[in-house]
Symmetry: C2
Subunit: 214 residues, 2 copies
DNA sequence: TCAACAAGGATTTTCGAAAATTCTGGAATT
DNA sequence: AATTCCAGAATTTTCGAAAATCCTTGTTGA
């Protein structure tokens, strides 16, 4: 892996997980020290992230972490619902039993992690992401999967700080995931779409209550 | 405008318009000579284009123009229909009369250009793009507009060579655009969506017949 | 007091060369 | 004849410094 790729992965993770405040400038000298590399690989990573809308750039004024706002969150949420319900519908239509097996596996792995008290949050997030990706993986559209990844990263920036602010959950998230998986495995597309939509809308509610009002 | 931005604009245009063959390597020495700049701004542009899926990159093996294939075209087409019908629906729901005026203006400008025999193809393409963007501009979703731009560029790569191969058009494209604009201005969302969809499916038919079979 | 300006420092952007890796073609070996 | 190996060339990747631009701060002049 080249340094530019490492820079991309690290920066993306640090931005999505909120280790840089939104709108804070990303100065090359600072990043160079933080990640231990020169300007060139960092600039390449920042350009990629700019195309993904995680950072913004202004000519001769460098890069910033892109802003967060309630309206941008609502936008990303609506786009996600559009993309994911369609991708899920297509997956249910086209997926084979290997795909079904991968959902069962992803759900199992996710539940093992939520049930654990030692709480490796990184691992939990990775498995949560993997489960949702597995649902859509058979949709057959690279574009939809690409958009899914973009929007997942964009909304993850809101989810993490909001969950910390919102305190203990009343939801049984394992049960929600299980219900979605059941509907998918039963090839009941309308039900699966409705459950997925509700799942996201419920999360969105939690996020809204953890965010400053618009 | 910085050199990196110029490089991005030029490279994107040259790729979309097919001046580089798909899958051909984009060697830095060649690009440096072609565009008259050093490696740094070119690499930054290539990284942005990689995030947009117009070029592919492989570690230590540089960049290539991304491949074209019938299946990728069908994928992009379906994604476009999903994104654009939804964005159009939202635009009709939310647009004000300034938005209506911008559609009238864009349609007028487009027709002036199609009626011209001196045929500045670049200008025609720009106005065609501007018209389709104007239709969606009031949707209120930055994400949908972003996806629209991506998919427009992706499908434009197929449209241009196919039109040259397909020979003279039997369609009255001005009339199709006019009908879409009329439905939009009448705020008839279902009709506008149907007309837009038909418009793209007809273009897709032309493109398919100009492409080698899958 | 205030606006315009300028000098100096900070920062981004770009270049040219060095380092690292891949590719190519031919010699050596089986 | 086919395969492996290696040296040299080609190419990508990275660095460090130079160039260009922006920002700050203090000064001047009205």
């Amino acid at each position: 892996m080249t340094l530019a790729e490492k820079a991309y992965v690290s920066l993306r993770k640090d931005i999505v997980e909120g280790r840089f405040a939104p709108e804070s400038p990303l100065r090359l000298a600072d990043l160079s020290e933080r990640y231990g590399m020169g300007f060139s690989p960092l600039r390449e990573a920042l350009n990629r992230l700019q195309a993904e809308r995680l950072v913004t750039a202004e000519s001769l004024r460098g890069f910033r972490v892109s802003a967060r706002s309630p309206s941008e969150f609502e936008d990303a949420l609506q786009a996600r619902l559009l993309i994911e319900t369609e991708a899920l519908r297509l997956s249910i239509l086209k997926g084979d039993d290997t795909w079904e097996a991968s959902i069962v596996a992803a759900l199992y792995a996710l539940r093992r992690q939520t049930g654990r008290s030692d709480g490796d949050v990184d691992e939990l997030k990775a498995r949560h992401h993997a489960f949702h990706r597995a649902l859509l993986a058979a949709c057959g559209s690279d574009w939809l999967l690409d958009f899914f990844e973009r929007l997942y990263a964009a909304t993850e920036r809101y989810r993490i700080p909001a969950l910390l602010a919102a305190g203990p959950q009343k939801r049984d998230i394992d049960a929600e995931h299980g219900a979605i998986a059941d509907a998918v495995l039963a090839r009941d597309a309308p039900l699966a779409e409705r459950l997925l939509r509700d799942h996201y809308l419920r999360t969105a509610g939690t996020i809204r209550s953890g965010m400053a009002p618009a």
